[in-house]
Subunit: 340 residues, 3 copies
């Protein structure tokens, strides 16, 4: 999609200096600007790039005094950063929402329904008795099993697998390869050393405004529901086990794992590769560092935890600083013993 | 699927108190029971919920004396927990085994064959020369490459990718997004700093009664076979590298990684996010804690290991307790040095 | 595919001893040789197997003097290891390159083009405005989004998801379930505790000769490009976040995670389950051990790092050896305090 600078100035309420009929089809960083791109200048540190950039246009402040001649066209606005963000969102929205209708062949059971303005990509699958809201994008090769519900404006990216009985809210985005509603990992040990499968008959509930990353897995509950509450953002390759509950607006970075029946509070921030054992509760506003292992309930709100077995972050760093010096510590003890 | 209470009582050899023609279509926890659901009461701790539950029916002991009036229907059996488990399995079986036939379009090469009672979902793929047993479910968008064998009653969930030459046993379950038989990670360093791909021409053998979790990866052998023996249960997002052998009835939790050519014994339990280096052997009945790194052979059976670099669990916990106190330890040394 | 021993001797420039019309269709280890397989003997340690193997043929040195009678046919060549490697590569090439044409139904938008000798498997998807080179294999159920470019001879395995705007070089191999170009994990915290999605409008660039493992995820840049330079080899289940740059010929083992905007140098070796924070630089030729956490810039080339919070490998091992003995250390301090 190409836009003229006049069109963009119109959207932003700005004023073109240069050729308003020039077109752009890409947003560039100012230091990497190329013909056909539009950039912005907000931080004065980057001003030297304004005079060098090959971008077709740069959004600048209406008050900026030019130090030199520029090669590019300019769009002057009140706040260039805000203006650029507006463009960014408009562009992203256009890209993500442009697809509509059905690319054949796509599969949808006759018992299922889908609201207006939706998209079903080629080789996408919708099973029986599904209720899909308005403006939902089920991209190519995505899978929605039997008896699922998906709310308005949700985007299901290519190759996502949503298993039967799942409920997905509105304004969610589920990224490629994510698996929602696979069986929980439940096996009862038998006397002969084998394991018997414990049926996993619950489901997954994902509330509104949730983002689930690529190749992340969210298991269905043994009974009841695995619940991801509204506003939660989960990165790629994260494991969410059966019967886990994740509180509102909690953010979880890549490759973290949460074991069965654990309940995470609201507004937590969990860094990458953290691991949380099963059957515990994590208080609201907890921050968990990268690679940190959590093996006990966290009951005080607002703590920051870190370590192979989690400690208060500051305490861990003090102990680890001494760990680095253990050879000297040992030497000092030897000295004391000698003198003794 | 709806069942009347009379039908369920018949299956369980129990007796209905209330309306035998009432129907249920869901299994609920007693504390979360809603109309249309059936629950059970086994642990007396939960008895108060019996008098409040909105479930349509509750399975209780034939000997239980009611303390108050109940709103729900009852099914009295010898052992409510066993009875409920029977229902759970029957329900799960019905859900998982109900699909049969072919959902078009599905792809199967003419040289491949599939036994009776099977299911091939829409957009599923079966390559050349495959032998698929009886009652096998190849769900929508699943992939079975050329020259594969799959035993009876195995379930291949939506979007699973089984690459060429793989052999999967009977009564296995492979969950969505798992990849079986991708190339092992083998590259020979060249003098100019580049790497040359070492062809990976082996395969993967998965024996009977194995479960493989969602988005788990099992690489084919460089030569010979990567082997997962009978009864092994593997959780989500686990990495099993080329030429690994995993012994019978070993259980591996989420996000664990096992490097190339390592051999894991029988009846081991490996917790989440553990990592095991390549070319080692782990004895039978070994327990490996979460996040634990194993870098050497484990030769004694029945050990429990834990730690960033694995130690005996008890030893690790003792050392870690002192690690937490290293600042005080350092202070005590300073005191001694002062007095010295 | 079957080959006669005469054919193979012709390829290798060797000489058959035995039945040149015997056929083989498999490469076996000499100790596991079975009828229909061909093995090789290079290391004299394995010579005893030569007299026992059930392989149809074994490749041996032209100068080897037999100690006993052999049951198998022989192909004598100058260097058996080199000869076998030649066969291995030829075999692997045949397997991987044999597919050509289109398996219907496959989806390719009319605006996209594909070079000669290519393959598009059933249920594969190619969006709008894609330029696919010569001899490219897009296997069954693989996905190539709008505006992608893929260079010659690249193999896209079953179920790979390449999102819109990605550029993949020549001679690359992307393994099943990998996701290229999913949105970066970018959310701006709002005053009410919710998060606002930061549009991710950049792309992914993968240069020539790159291998990406099964179920690995490579996120698109927020703006600009996430770049994986030529010759990089990435294992399974690795996370590469937005705007990461990975230098030439760097090798990354399974389950490692690299956070946003980090730049990894050339010829680095990163072991499994390592974690690297965002916005840092790692110097060329750095070696990072398994499970190691990197939280700072690594500026000196050629270091080897290890540890929960990375240290020089040798220093870590010294400190960890003392960590294992902390209970005794504590005891020694107690003794000193008593005597004091």
């Amino acid at each position: 999609m190409k836009f003229t600078l006049d069109q963009i100035a119109g959207i932003l309420g700005g004023k073109v200096e240069g050729d308003g009929s020039a077109t752009v089809n890409r947003l560039d960083k100012i230091q990497e600007g190329k013909a056909g791109g539009i950039s912005f200048l907000s931080n004065e540190k980057y001003e030297p790039f304004l005079y060098q950039t090959e971008a077709t246009a740069v959004i600048i402040s209406e008050t900026l005094l030019l130090q030199k001649e520029v090669k590019c066209n300019l769009i002057r606005v009140k706040n260039p950063y805000t203006g650029f963000t507006q463009l960014l969102e408009a562009y992203s929205q256009l890209t993500k929402q442009s697809k509509q209708g059905v690319e054949e062949p796509a599969f949808m059971d006759a018992s299922s329904s889908m609201g207006d303005f939706g998209f079903r990509g080629a080789f996408s699958y919708i099973g029986k008795n599904c209720k899909i809201g308005k403006n939902v994008k089920i991209h190519a090769q995505a899978h929605v099993g039997d008896n699922c519900e998906i709310g308005d404006n949700t985007i299901i990216h290519p190759g996502v697998k949503i298993q039967y009985d799942s409920r997905i809210g509105s304004n969610c985005e589920i990224h490629s390869g994510a698996v929602i509603g696979s069986d929980g990992f439940g096996f009862a040990p038998q006397e002969d050393g084998t394991y018997k499968t414990i049926p996993q008959i619950g489901n997954v509930i994902i509330e509104d405004n949730v983002s689930i990353g690529a190749n992340t897995t969210v298991d269905r509950a043994t009974m009841g529901s695995t619940i991801i509450k509204k506003g939660v953002k989960i990165d790629n390759l994260v494991q969410v086990a059966h019967n886990v509950i994740i509180g509102e607006n909690t953010v979880i970075a890549s490759q973290t794992g949460i074991s069965g029946s654990t309940e995470i509070g609201k507004n937590c921030v969990i860094a990458g590769q953290a691991g949380i054992v099963g059957h515990i509760k994590i208080a609201d506003n907890t921050t968990i560092g990268a690679k940190t292992g959590i093996s006990k309930n966290i009951t005080n709100k607002g703590q920051t935890l870190f370590g192979f077995v989690a400690m208060d972050l500051k305490d861990f760093l003090k102990s680890y600083a001494i760990f680095r010096n253990l050879p000297q510590i040992q030497q000092r003890i030897k000295e004391l013993e000698k003198k003794d």
